[in-house]
Symmetry: C2
Subunit: 527 residues, 2 copies
C-alpha cells in the first residue's frame, strides 16, 4: 500500500537530520583507500554508461541510511504505481506515462479506452513511415524537390529536449552518414528568432514541425503564423510544408493546414516528451527512424534499471537520494551539470527545465506547504569551457555547489591531434578526472589565495561515446532521478502551475487591461 | 586616502545587518503608489538604456543606508584609483585597465614606459586597418579570393565575451548590411568542437584569430594545431590564414606563423578583454571597424556614468549595492539573468564568467579569509524561453532567486507578424512586464498549488534596441557592477587562482604521474 508522506515525517529522514557524521572527502579519497573507493562506489547504467559517486560526501553508513529512506519513502513502489498507470499527476488528475513511449515496464495501461503503449508505438510508426517517405523523395515540395531541412516550432519541452538531443547526435550522425536532414529550431516569441532561422535556410526545401499539445501555446502559434507568412511570400503553399505534433483533441489535429499530424496526449508532460513524437518526428526526420529507435532503446534499458529497489544497484534512485542528502541535509542550494563533451552543450539547459520545472515547488501533492527545501537551481556549461569561466567560484567561492560531471572515452568525429604527447580527447578526459580530485581534495598552500579547501562533492557519469543509446540512457537517468526526488519531497513533479500567472498578466498587458505599476512598466516598454 | 576594509567592518554594513525593516513588494507596487515607484526608481544608463529597480526590495531608507555604504566603502574613490592606474590587482601586482580601451577617464596611465591609452588605441587602429584590407580584398587567400569567414580560437574570456557580442549584433549587422564576414568560434579542447566548425566552413576562405595572452593556453594551442593540420591537409599555407592576439612578450608575438599580431597586456584580464583586441579583431572583421568603435563608445559612456559618487545617479554602483544587499542581508545565493532578446542568448554565459570568476572567492585582497558570502551563482537563458522552462522554480520554488531582466522596444530584423491584435515584439515586451509583476506581487488562490507568494525581486534594464552602442553600455554596466561588488566584498576581482589546481592535476594525469583515486578515475576514462 502506497502512502504519500512528507520527507520530514519519515523516520529515516529524521535519522539523517540527527546524524552529525560528515564524510571528509580529502581523507576518503587519499592513498590506496581512495582507489578502492573509486572501484567500489560505482554502479552500471544502461548503454555502457556508469555512475560514479566516490567523490560524493557519502560513506557506507550514510548510504545505508539513504537505502532506508528509499524503502520508507517507497520509491520503488511509487515508480511501479506510475508505470502501471496510477494517477500520479494528482493536481491535473493525469497518468504519467512517458516511460511507456520506450518500453512496457509493467501491466498494460489502458486509458480513454486505448492501450497507451500501442498508441505511442503507433504514432512512432507513423512518424517513421513519414520520415522514410521524405527521405525516399516520396514526399517532396511542390516542385518535386526533396526536403533538406526540418525546423521544429515549439517552446519549453517541445524545444529544449529535442534540441539538446539533436545537437548531441548531429556530429555522430554526420560521421555515420546518417544525417538525413539538418534540423533547426524556432522557439522564442522574439520575432528575431524566427526571422533569423528563416534568413539562413531555404524555405522551399524546409519542413516545419509545429509542436503544441494543446494547440494553443501563444509563442508557438505566433511563430507558426510567422513561418506561414514567409512561405506564402515565397510563393509556397504552407500546408505542403508543415506537420503538426499535438493531441488528438486539439484544433490542429485534423486541420487541412498540415501534411500530417502525429499525436501525443495529456499523460506526457512537455519536459518528459523527448521520447514521444515531440522528439520522435524531428529526430526521425533528421537522423532516420532507426537512430531514434536506438535512442529509445537506451532510455528503455535505463528505465528497467530504475526498477531495482536497491539504490546501490539503481543509479537513478541513488543519484536522487544523494541529491536530496546534499540539498536537505548538507544545505546546498544549486547543482552544476558539466558534460565534458561539446555535443552535450545544450543538455544542461534541458536538465534545467526537467529538474527546476518538476521540483521547483513549495507545496506537496496535497497542496500543503512543505517545511523543507525542494528542487535546487540547476545550471551548467560544457567542460573544459566552464573551467575557464565559472569554475573559479566552484573551487574557491564561499558556497559549495555539488557537481554532476559527464565524461566519454571517445569523441564523435574521429578527428584528433597529438600535441605534447597527448590527443585532445585525452586532454579532455584528463581534465575531468583532475577536476573531480581538485574539487574533492583541494590543496593547502602557504598563500591562502592559492589554497583550495576541497570538500566539494561531485559524481561522474562515464561512457564510451555520445551516441543514440547513451543519449537515451542519459536522458532517462535524469528523468528518473527527478521523479524519485519528487517522490522523496512528496511533490507532484508533473504539473507546472507556477507558469500560469505570468501568462495571465501578459494577456492583460496586451489587452491594455492594466493599471498601476504594471501599466507603468508596460509604458516604459512602449506596449 | 583609500583604505581597503572588509565589508563586515563597515559601520554602514552593520546598520544594514541590524535593520530588520524589510520591503513588502506586493504592497510597495500596488495601486497608484506602484506606478509612482516605477517612475521614481529608475536611473539612466548610456546609449539610451535605463536601469529600473522598482521591483527590488528596497525603499528610500534602505537606499540611504546603501548610499552610506557606498561612501564608507569608498567605491567612487576606488574606481578612480583603478582608472588612474593603481595596482588594484594586488595578487598579481598589476594595474587594471580595461576601461582604458574605450576612453580616458582620468590621468594618463603610463606603465612599462608606455602611455597605455595610446597603446590600446594603437592596437585597435592596427586591427581596423587590417580588417579594412581584408574587406577591400587587399589581404586574401593564396588564390587571391577574399576571406568570408573569421574563426576565433580562444577559451574563457577570449571566447565568451566576443561570442556573446557577435551573436548580439549578427542580425543587427545583417539588417544594416554591415555583416562583412560570418564569425565562428572554437574553444573547447574536445576535438569535436574544432572538427565540427571545420566541417561546416570553407577553410580556404577562412581567417583564424588565435587568442592567447600568454601564448601558452593549452586548449587554444591544441586547437591551433588542429586547425593548422586541417589547413595543411587542404593544401593551404597556415601562415596565410592566421593572425594572433597576444601579449608582446609571448612566443606568438613575432612569429612568422601569423599574417599579423595584435597586442594586449597583463593589465586586462580575459573576462574584461572584450573591448580590447581580443574582441576588437574578430568584431572589426565581422562587422567593420566603425561598428566596433560604436560598441566602444557605448561602453565608454557607461564608464563615465560609473564615476558618479551618488549611487542613485550611478546605475552600475546601485546595481552592485542592491546585489550585495540581496546576497549578504537577504541571503539569496543565486541570481538569474534573463534577457528578453534572442540576440542576447549567450550574454548570460558571458556574465556568468565575468561575475563568478571575479568574485567567487573566499579570501580578501590581503589573502585573509572573509566571514561573509561573496559572489553568487549566475545563470540564465533568454525569455520567453525561460518562462517555459525554469521559471516554475523561480515563481514557486522554496528559494528566492533575484532576477535581472532586460527588455528592448524594437527587434533587430524588422520582420514581425500581428496575431490576435498584437505583434510578436509586443508579446515579448508584454511578457517581461508581466513577469516582473508576477514575481514581485504574486497572487493568492484558494488552491495553494495555484498561489504565488510574490516578494521575488527583479530589476530590468530597458532599451530601444540591441545595437552596438547599447551592447557596449550593457557590457560595461556589468563589468562595473562586478568591480564595485569586489570593492564592497574587499576582494581582488582581477585574479583567478582557483583555476590553477585543476590545470596542474590534468598535466599530472597526462604525464601518468598519478596514483590512488586520481589514477583510478583516469583509468576509468582510459587515459
Amino acid at each position: 500500500m502506497i502512502s504519500w508522506k512528507n520527507l520530514d515525517t519519515l523516520a529515516a529522514y529524521d535519522n539523517l537530520v540527527k546524524c552529525d557524521h560528515r564524510v571528509n572527502l580529502p581523507e576518503a579519497l587519499s592513498g590506496e583507500n581512495g582507489a578502492q573507493r573509486v572501484a567500489k562506489y560505482a554502479v552500471p547504467m544502461a548503454a555502457g554508461l556508469s555512475y560514479h559517486y566516490a567523490a560524493k560526501a557519502v560513506d557506507d553508513d550514510i548510504l545505508q541510511m539513504l537505502t532506508r529512506l528509499a524503502e520508507e519513502a517507497q520509491l520503488s513502489d511509487k515508480y511501479q504505481e506510475l508505470y502501471n498507470g496510477a494517477v500520479i499527476n494528482t493536481g491535473e488528475k493525469r497518468l504519467v506515462l512517458h516511460q511507456l513511449t520506450r518500453g512496457q515496464l509493467g501491466q498494460d495501461v489502458v486509458a480513454d479506452g486505448v492501450n497507451k503503449r500501442d498508441f505511442y508505438v503507433g504514432e512512432q510508426k507513423k512518424a517513421a513511415e513519414f520520415a522514410c517517405k521524405v527521405h525516399a523523395g516520396e514526399i517532396t515540395n511542390e516542385s518535386g524537390e526533396p526536403f533538406t531541412t526540418v525546423v521544429q516550432i515549439g517552446i519549453g519541452g517541445s524545444d529544449l529536449g529535442p534540441r539538446a538531443i539533436y545537437l548531441a547526435l548531429e556530429n555522430w550522425a554526420r560521421q555515420q552518414n546518417t544525417l538525413k536532414m539538418q534540423a533547426r529550431f524556432i522557439s522564442n516569441v522574439d520575432p528575431d528568432d524566427a526571422a533569423s532561422v528563416l534568413k539562413t535556410i531555404d524555405v522551399s526545401r524546409s519542413l516545419f514541425v509545429l509542436v503544441s499539445k494543446s494547440g494553443t501555446t501563444l509563442e508557438t502559434l505566433t511563430n507558426e503564423s510567422f513561418v506561414k507568412n514567409a512561405l506564402k511570400e515565397a510563393g509556397l503553399d504552407p500546408s505542403r510544408h508543415m506537420v503538426a505534433v499535438t493531441s488528438e483533441t486539439s484544433p490542429l489535429a485534423k486541420s487541412a493546414d498540415y501534411l500530417a499530424a502525429f499525436f501525443m496526449d495529456d499523460y506526457i508532460g512537455g519536459r518528459y516528451s523527448s521520447s514521444s513524437c515531440v522528439g520522435g518526428v524531428i529526430l526521425s526526420l533528421a537522423f532516420g527512424p532507426e537512430v531514434f529507435a536506438r535512442f529509445l532503446n537506451g532510455a528503455a534499458e535505463e528505465d528497467k534499471l530504475a526498477m531495482n529497489p536497491d539504490p546501490l544497484q539503481n543509479p537513478d534512485m541513488l543519484d536522487a537520494l544523494i541529491g536530496v542528502y546534499e540539498r536537505n541535509i548538507l544545505g546546498y542550494p544549486t547543482t552544476a551539470v558539466l558534460p565534458y563533451s561539446q555535443a552535450l552543450s545544450r543538455f544542461p539547459a534541458h536538465l534545467q527545465q526537467l529538474d527546476m520545472e518538476s521540483n521547483g515547488k513549495s507545496v506537496n501533492r496535497f497542496g500543503e506547504a512543505v517545511h523543507y527545501v525542494t528542487g535546487p537551481v540547476i545550471f551548467g556549461e560544457p567542460g573544459t569551457n566552464g573551467q575557464h569561466s565559472f569554475y573559479q567560484l566552484l573551487h574557491q567561492g564561499t558556497d559549495i555547489v555539488p557537481l554532476q560531471f559527464m565524461g566519454y572515452r571517445q569523441n564523435q568525429l574521429g578527428m584528433d591531434v597529438d600535441i605534447q604527447g597527448s590527443t585532445s580527447q585525452q586532454k579532455l578526459c584528463a581534465n575531468v578526472a583532475a577536476q573531480i580530485m581538485a574539487f574533492a581534495c583541494g590543496k593547502q598552500d602557504a598563500d591562502p589565495n592559492k589554497s583550495f579547501a576541497g570538500g566539494r562533492p561531485s559524481s561522474i557519469i562515464i561512457g564510451d561515446q555520445v551516441n543514440p543509446e547513451s543519449v537515451g540512457a542519459l536522458l532517462a537517468h535524469f528523468e528518473n532521478k527527478v521523479m524519485f526526488q519528487g517522490f522523496l519531497w512528496n511533490l507532484n513533479s508533473f504539473d507546472q502551475e507556477g507558469v500560469q500567472l505570468g501568462k495571465v498578466l501578459a494577456k492583460r498587458v496586451l489587452a491594455h487591461d492594466t493599471d498601476g505599476a504594471l501599466r507603468a512598466f508596460s509604458d516604459l516598454l512602449h506596449i
